[in-house]
């Protein structure tokens, strides 16, 4: 949000509780420079509104129907400022501190609100982008809890891919392609960060560019010198690197 003089900050409030939205609305009311362009009561609405209205600032609750706050953040990219608003979440708060993300703890007063708002404005001035949202989401996840679903976006449409339905993941530049039920969904995330969020007893990195769902692997065949291919239930063939083959063997020998 590069603001010209006199230009308003366009903001969206996302919270499923009407009373929680009301508090923020009231505090925002004291700031003529902020224009409230939408209020959303669930994650789907939030993604839709952000995509369509391109606001500068988002007040984002964590626990909501449809998509939680971190999933919303992953889907809307990082070219807007986000102030997380939550009541209590040990791991999330730790992640906010580590990643220098602005947040408000419910209940909060006008002073806290002003401070968070000012910090958000300063960060815009300094031009510091957020860390990649997936990294923040991973840091905020309670330990030993792996992803059980991945949210992806196509325009304003949001798809939920349960990890059990994931066949494999392929790295494509800054994106990962999630192959599920014959379709491929693109998501802006590195394959390494996705790898660390998936349960290692179910998903294995078999190649620099591929993670496979182990349940889908039918057989592994030699391909060329030092390399193999993994054949999946639906006939897909994926390259297996030498290191990937060693990991696969270690897994099968267990």
């Amino acid at each position: 949000m590069n603001l010209q003089d006199g230009q308003k900050i366009r903001a969206i409030i996302v919270d499923d509780e009407e009373l929680a939205r009301q508090v923020i609305r009231e505090f925002v009311g004291a700031h003529p420079e902020i224009e409230l362009v939408a209020e959303c009561s669930n994650g789907f609405e939030a993604v839709k509104s952000v995509t369509e209205l391109k606001p500068d600032l988002l007040f984002l609750d964590i626990q909501m129907p449809k998509l939680d706050g971190f999933e919303v953040l992953e889907l809307i990219g990082n070219d807007l400022r986000v102030i997380f608003v939550t009541a209590f979440d040990r791991y999330a708060i730790k992640a906010f501190e580590v990643h220098a993300v602005d947040y408000l703890l419910k209940p909060f007063g006008a002073d806290r609100f002003e401070a968070a708002l000012n910090r958000a404005k300063q960060r815009v001035a300094a031009g510091k982008p957020h860390r990649p949202p997936a990294e923040l989401a991973a840091a905020a996840r309670p330990p030993s809890q792996f992803l059980d679903r991945i949210a992806v976006r196509d325009g304003t449409r949001v798809y939920i891919v349960p990890v059990a339905k994931l066949d494999y993941v392929e790295a494509q530049d800054d994106y990962v392609a999630l192959a599920t039920e014959g379709k491929k969904h693109l998501k802006q995330q590195t394959i390494s960060s996705l790898e660390s969020a998936l349960d290692p007893s179910r998903f294995l990195r078999i190649h620099r560019s591929f993670i496979v769902n182990l349940e889908r692997v039918v057989k592994v065949e030699p391909y060329a010198k030092d390399t193999h291919v993994a054949v999946l239930q639906n006939g897909t063939q994926l390259p297996v690197s030498r290191a990937g083959y060693a990991r696969l063997r270690a897994f099968l020998d267990r």
Binding site: Q22, N42, I62, P65, K66, A87, F88, F108, R149, I160
Partner: protein, 357 residues
């Protein structure tokens, strides 16, 4: 470790208990009429000492043949055989002692005069050995029951710990802070409602307060705790919460562990209602069954595609644990996650009288 040898004091007591036996033996030795009282006493003291140690060995055969493991026939055969062997050995020792004494001038022909007393030695040897077998079986049984008692004590301490932990975990900070935030919102828009919310929250917190010291409360009290909890949540979620109740009033005086049901209702709100944009219902059914059990069902709508909740099911595990701790196998606990509803069913025996409050 041998229970007598392991402790000097016990060994002393054991040997002391053989002094009257030695006296009795001396008396028995004079019965055939060939030995003087003095000779019988001189023989019986070392003989009793020897046999006292022989009898200690019966502990090993008691340990090796536990009463609950083998039939009576085998036990009798084993111990009687051992008794025969022990007493025959003892008899030989006695005869040897008598013949060596007879070489001394003060005990003329003791070996021939002793011979009629040998059956007395063997007979009392068998009896004494079998007595020691009985004694050691009693020692073993006492030890076992002491162990069992210790285990029961430990189990109840663990159960109590689990209960306390559950209670401490109860007033969920997420619930508390969200409720305070609702009050904060209402102070400017609807101050009367804000005050009402303060009162509702206070009412709920007060009810949960002294529950830590109680082992059981009437089901009715638990139900009103749930009502106080839902009254607060209704302010937060508005029309998104719909509560349906089907309650058999005759079950309400039964004692239950405190906070048995409230966590289930809280889960229904957190995992059900809070994930549904349009809200949903919670159904609570409490029924007395014909066999005297109480059956409770907590059911709620859910969004099968809801995001994973950032709080794991500690509440559910705690309820199951406390139910087990109090009722053991007489209670059952079942969870069914259907496509659109989540159902928790528990049954437990109704204990009519509330002993502790």
């Amino acid at each position: 470790m041998h229970p007598i040898f392991s402790n000097l004091r016990r060994l002393g007591l054991y040997l002391l208990s053989w002094i009257p036996i030695a006296g009795m033996l001396a008396y028995l030795l004079t019965i055939p009429g060939q030995l003087s009282m003095r000779e019988a006493a001189i023989l019986s003291i070392p003989l009793s000492l020897i046999y006292a140690f022989i009898c200690l060995s019966s502990w090993y055969s008691c340990r090796g043949n536990p009463l609950e493991k083998y039939g009576l026939g085998r036990l009798i055969a084993t111990h009687v055989t051992a008794a025969l062997i022990a007493s025959v050995v003892w008899g030989f020792a006695a005869a040897g002692m008598a013949s060596s004494l007879s070489k001394m001038p003060s005990f003329p022909e003791l070996n021939t005069r002793f011979r009629p007393a040998i059956p007395v030695i063997v007979g009392s040897g068998i009896l004494l050995y079998l007595l020691s077998v009985t004694f050691f079986y009693i020692v073993i049984a006492v030890d076992l029951s002491r162990d069992a008692e210790a285990r029961v004590m430990q189990a109840s301490v663990l159960a109590r710990d689990a209960e306390l932990k559950a209670l401490k975990a109860q007033v969920n900070p997420h619930f508390l802070f969200n409720s305070l935030n609702s009050i904060s919102a209402l102070t400017t828009s609807d101050s009367a409602k804000a005050r009402e919310m303060c009162i509702l929250l206070g009412d709920f917190l007060r009810r949960t307060l002294g529950l830590g010291e109680k082992t059981a409360i009437p089901l009715e009290e638990e139900l009103s705790l749930i009502h106080a909890f839902l009254a607060v949540e209704k302010v937060r979620f508005g029309a998104r919460i719909q509560m349906e109740e089907n309650i058999d009033k005759s079950a309400l005086d039964a004692p239950v562990p405190p906070l048995l049901l409230q966590p289930l209702v809280e889960n229904a709100v957190v995992h059900g209602i809070a994930n549904l944009v349009e809200g949903g219902w919670i159904r609570l059914s409490i029924q007395s069954q014909e066999n005297g059990d109480i059956s409770i069902v907590v059911e709620n709508t859910l969004d099968p595609e809801a995001p994973a909740r950032r709080r794991n099911g500690v509440g559910l595990a705690n309820v199951r644990q406390r139910l087990q701790a109090r009722y053991g196998s007489r209670a059952s606990f079942a969870v069914k996650a259907g496509a659109e509803a989540y159902t928790v069913t528990l049954t437990f025996p109704a204990e009519r009288k509330l002993q502790t409050t």
